[in-house]
Symmetry: C2
Amino acid sequence: MAASVAIPDTVQTPEVLIDLDILQRNINALARAVASRGQRLRPHAKTHKIPQIAELQMAAGARGLTVATVGEAEVFARNGVQDLFIAYPLWVGGPMAPRLKALGGKTRLRVGVDSVEGARNLAERLGADAGILEVMIELDSGHRRSGAAPDAAAEVARAARAAGLRVAGLFTFPGHSYGPGAARGAADDESRVLSEAARDLRAAGFRDLELSGGSTPTAHTPDPGAATEVRPGVYIFNDAQQLEMGHCGFADIALTVASTVVSRRPHAQGGGQAVLDAGTKVLGGDRPAWASGFARILGSPESHVTALSEHHATVDFPEGSRLPGYGEKLQVIPNHVCLVPNLVDAVTVVQRHGADTEGDRTYRIVDRWAVAARGRNN
Amino acid sequence: MAASVAIPDTVQTPEVLIDLDILQRNINALARAVASRGQRLRPHAKTHKIPQIAELQMAAGARGLTVATVGEAEVFARNGVQDLFIAYPLWVGGPMAPRLKALGGKTRLRVGVDSVEGARNLAERLGADAGILEVMIELDSGHRRSGAAPDAAAEVARAARAAGLRVAGLFTFPGHSYGPGAARGAADDESRVLSEAARDLRAAGFRDLELSGGSTPTAHTPDPGAATEVRPGVYIFNDAQQLEMGHCGFADIALTVASTVVSRRPHAQGGGQAVLDAGTKVLGGDRPAWASGFARILGSPESHVTALSEHHATVDFPEGSRLPGYGEKLQVIPNHVCLVPNLVDAVTVVQRHGADTEGDRTYRIVDRWAVAARGRNN
């Protein structure tokens, strides 16, 4: 999405726009890069939660999808995806076991475990149906969230095997890749822990191990490292975080939130403050310490989003810049795009129209996609 | 919700729980306090978005509801609420004018404006139907978001009148009340700007002015100030912010997110880190600088939620405290509760069961309420 493309007046703001051409280009570019490194791609679908985008990813060569929850897996299995990995250390309780069994009857299924207890609980809950899925052992590569310590992975794998589960491999999410200049070091950590734990598992007799790495920042690093597959999510849309980490440019932003200027405070020297009708209830509230603000504005790289409340974005336009007028429509780039489709029932798909001709640079609405897995938190 | 009430095994986490008895008590207590100060109560329904809760509020004496968007107004009007105030400086464009007209035919309707331009645009878009609503002039009382400067309110009101709109009064949202010890000063600011602007409007011939103040923190201050009505939202549920500002106790928390321990790192000295299956996609990501963390845990006042990602809460239990076990269910208190119902299709309504007897302290599931206005951002 380039700047200065007009939003049709029929769009009631705030509204999530997806630029189909940029989306397709992002999908193709990463698919090619991953294939050229000899890795397989299993994109994380929690970012979009939209079956039509899953189809584009599969058509570009993805082997299957990654999801975060059983509920997301159910939606994508129902929409024809045949190979799903729930990359989460599931604790199976209550109604989850029958759901996993039903899912395993429909699609190839892998799920995460990160502890001996988790592996035993999973096996016990599945009982005679343990063969409907494979497990992937989660490792902590430095993010300090879930994941076994690399030197504990073999113990978890042996416990899983002893409980009757098939161990397919190892995975990690290098969440500490999120920060300016952090991707290279995090990619090295990811590769190192996958290699170390794989060596221990091989010594314990495990073979043909999948080594699954993650994250859009590390997927952009040129060296494949030890991973046999990667699980980036954000790359399809990009967002203000990726922009400020240097992983994409404004022209690579495929998802924005169309919004309207509802309040203004001009400064005497030019610029001033504008309030837009998009807040945390459509943009999400993520704001890492290193970010320049709560979002970015397409076409106004000089502006800063200094505050978000539920239905307001407060944007500062610096001295000497043009303060947008009342009713003007702007495109907000969210900090963390994974939160955004989850906040709406559907997104508006657009293409640039007449970009080559003077005087007609308006988005054309080409489709509307339901966010079929919205809200599937469990 | 008190600590150590067990969550039924049929609850698939993460799941939003509402304790009906605490909800009802919170609704009644604030209704009584507001009435005793001679003010009218118009609760903000953006917090819950649930018609059943609106009914409880109306039954307790609310004169009507406040909402943030036209979409929320449509849902509550359809559910029988006869008096709605969209407390937002609407910029009416695209399909919004016909929606406002339809709404004005069903319910008594007030909307916000904060500028001469906004008032003229509203009147122009409504045309001959300008009489279907009344406008309230928004004032900035120190939050520095939307709202006219108090000394500019009369100019906006005159422009609205000249354009054919009826001016019902003034409103402000003292958002700077959110902070420890900030409520008193913000309540004074609110009262002062309402009084000053009302004086100017009366001098310009406006009569019978509604003076509408806001916010749960200022609604808890004992002195009514100048406001004739108040618009608190959070008070029905309370949340970790209200708790840490001292406006409620743990026993006043009516909404929690049931979650499960999925990963653990015990420390040698006791305590350690637990990871729960509730993240920003069910809790929201608000984290003011003065907050102790990203959420609180009911029954573990000593713990800290040090990080949230989309599907993980990382909780530190200090040295010497008990680290919850795998699969244990905890109740997370979100920092900012208004974000939570908006993230789910429905909530589970519970009551404490057997609280007086030993050995049987389990929530009883008494209802399930759809979040009818979820996602109505425009």
